[in-house]
């Protein structure tokens, strides 16, 4: 099938729509993840999504449900542990390692006891955007709506508690509540991103675009828009490129995302250089 023909296929439309939804979410949440230095926590939430998915496969239910349960539960725990925005590396690492261990066991049980296919595990780990069906698209859309509404509501206190926790607390912002809310939103966004790029590549949508955006601007609102835009370009570009050349979609997405990041680092460093000259305090 030619590229032009593929563009008329329903599954391609579904994939592009799902990719767009996920990009908006991951780009928006990613900004706060980057500001608070939570990359490792996102990684943990994502890997625990794998455990949840493997559990769902063993139980014979929808893996997406398993991803959500896994990500949300670990998100809640981490949110309580990391209220001040400084992640507790060792706690996160311990949760992550054990969760992955359980995941390995569950995949083993799935393939041996239920005679499942090991490719299912590969899909969860590395993504299978073109496998998204209409029903999953609706679920994605609903979860995205929840995250975006919540994010609009908490944007200001969340920004305050992320950049200036001491002052935020004094002004009546509940650091713990916002930390839990953010981790739950991260868990939802991660669970969505897993379906596009897979567990192991979630950071390419949740971290890289936001990291690139913060290199390009110091305006919080503009950084949010840029982060979403970069995630969008990477996702949709990756899906389209994988139609032209049948390499894994996740590879193209991560390549575009990283490419933008490198460009942003180089140009951003140049743009900021003059301001580094110390200005007299008087």
């Amino acid at each position: 099938m030619s590229f032009a023909q593929l563009l008329h296929e329903h599954f391609v439309h579904t994939a592009l729509l799902a990719g767009a939804v996920v990009a908006v979410l991951a780009g928006a949440i990613g900004l706060f993840v980057v500001i608070r230095g939570m990359s490792f926590a996102v990684h943990a939430v994502s890997e625990l999504g794998f455990t949840g998915a493997a559990g769902a496969l063993v139980l014979g239910i929808d893996p997406v449900l398993g991803i959500l349960v896994g990500s949300l539960s670990v998100g809640a725990v981490l949110g309580l542990l990391t209220a001040r925005g400084r992640e507790r590396d060792s706690a996160i690492g311990s949760f992550l390692a054990f969760g992955l261990g359980v995941g390995v066991l569950l995949i083993y049980l799935y393939t041996t006891q239920r005679h499942g296919y090991a490719t299912q595990a590969t899909n969860i780990l590395f993504g299978s955007i073109v496998g998204v069906n209409d029903r999953q698209l609706y679920v994605l859309g609903a979860a995205a709506a929840i995250v975006l509404i919540a994010l609009t509501l908490v944007f200001r206190p969340l920004l305050f508690s992320s950049v200036d926790p001491e002052a935020a607390e004094a002004r009546g912002v509940s650091l713990r509540l916002l930390s839990v809310i953010l981790l739950l939103l991260v868990a939802l966004a991660t669970a969505e991103a897993i379906q596009v790029v897979g567990v192991l590549l979630v950071l390419t949508l949740v971290i890289t675009p936001a990291a690139a955006a913060t290199r390009l601007t110091a305006r919080p609102g503009l950084a949010l828009v840029l982060s979403i835009a970069i995630a969008m370009v990477a996702t949709e570009g990756g899906i389209l490129l994988s139609l032209l050349q049948s390499y894994p979609t996740s590879f193209f997405i991560s390549a575009i995302s990283f490419g933008v990041y490198v460009v942003a680092r180089v140009t951003g460093a140049r743009a900021r250089a003059p301001a580094r000259v110390p200005v007299s305090a008087t």
Partner: protein
């Protein structure tokens, strides 16, 4: 542990006829409709964490436009006192009143300049964004800028930070950042300003700028200031009273009454020397982290110049 507070000689009684500068402050405060006679009232207030008593039986009244310095070695509960006034920590005993009410977190009438913390390079935040957060950062939901922009701009003007308010906050010098923090604390027009070591990591020049900003605010708007510091010398000319917290004991009074050998010796229960050199106060021999008590306290042989900072580039104070 007996923790009776002691009053230095002339505290309280002599304050019915305040110095001229304060009259202006009081009038300004009354004009603003703040009829409460005291901005802060502590009665037999105490704070304990587990078995550890930080302070006990603390009585303190702070009037509008008053400048109170809180000094003492590390770990005596200076920052905790601010947290109590902010409503973030419950006192263990006694009563605490801020503007006539029990302290409640998030009051816009209390401004707070927290201890400085470095901003991560690449943080997507400009100086003006930091100031704006002091106005509506705690509010949920979508906020229209509306009249807030003017308030933010006027706060930035009041600290003369217009020139760099649009730059990324992480790229500013610590003196510039501190000015913006003060603008953030003042943007909600507080009647009480709490500052936690605001001079830390500032060079002498920037220290002076910050102190003058605070002094101007107090003079013009009658804002009461509680200033926690390791170094009293930069603010000595402006301070009305000093609250000296020592382990298990405290005293409050005018700088001249508190910062003298008899008072501090009685407070610490051991011989302490207070030396004045070129108008600066140096405390020698205070136990419990002597080097952090008051600027140069740890140096029995102060530099001949009497400077507060042996090395202005080094982080001031005794934090490690």
């Amino acid at each position: 542990m007996s923790a009776r507070g002691q009053r230095a000689v002339s505290e309280g009684e002599g304050r019915t006829a305040p110095p001229l500068g304060k009259v202006v402050g009081k009038e300004a405060a009354e004009a603003a409709g703040r009829a409460a006679p005291n901005v802060v009232e502590l009665r037999h207030a105490s704070l304990r964490f587990g078995h550890r008593t930080l302070w006990e039986d603390l009585d303190l009244d702070i009037g509008p436009g008053e400048f109170l310095a809180v000094v003492g070695p590390n770990g005596v509960g200076k920052t905790s006192l601010l947290r109590v006034l902010l409503g973030l920590t419950e006192p263990s005993g006694g009563t605490v009143g801020v503007l006539g009410h029990a302290p409640h977190r998030g009051s816009s009438l209390v401004g707070y300049v927290p201890q400085q913390r470095a901003f991560e390079p690449g943080l997507p935040l400009r100086g003006k964004d930091l100031v704006r957060l002091g106005l509506d950062g705690q509010r949920w939901g979508f906020q229209r800028a509306g009249g807030r922009r003017a308030l933010v701009e006027s706060a930035i003007r009041s600290v003369s930070a217009e020139e760099y308010a649009d730059r990324p906050i992480a790229l500013l010098s610590s003196g510039e950042q501190q000015r913006l923090r003060i603008a953030q604390a003042l943007v909600s027009d507080p009647a009480l300003l709490l500052c936690d070591e605001p001079l830390l990591s500032l060079d002498l020049n920037a220290q002076q700028v910050v102190v003058e900003l605070l002094e101007a605010r107090r003079r013009e708007r009658g804002t009461a200031i509680i200033f926690v510091t390791h170094e009293i010398n930069p603010i000595l000319p402006f301070v009305d009273r000093v609250l000296y917290l020592a382990p298990g004991s405290w005293t409050v009074g005018s700088p001249d009454d508190v910062l003298k050998s008899e008072t501090l010796s009685r407070l610490y229960g051991t011989h302490v020397d207070v030396i004045r050199v070129h108008g600066r106060v140096i405390v020698v021999g205070a136990p419990d982290e002597p080097d952090t008590a008051l600027g140069e306290a740890g140096h029995p042989h102060p530099h001949a110049t009497g400077l507060d900072h042996p090395d202005p580039q080094a982080p001031a104070g005794g934090r490690r």
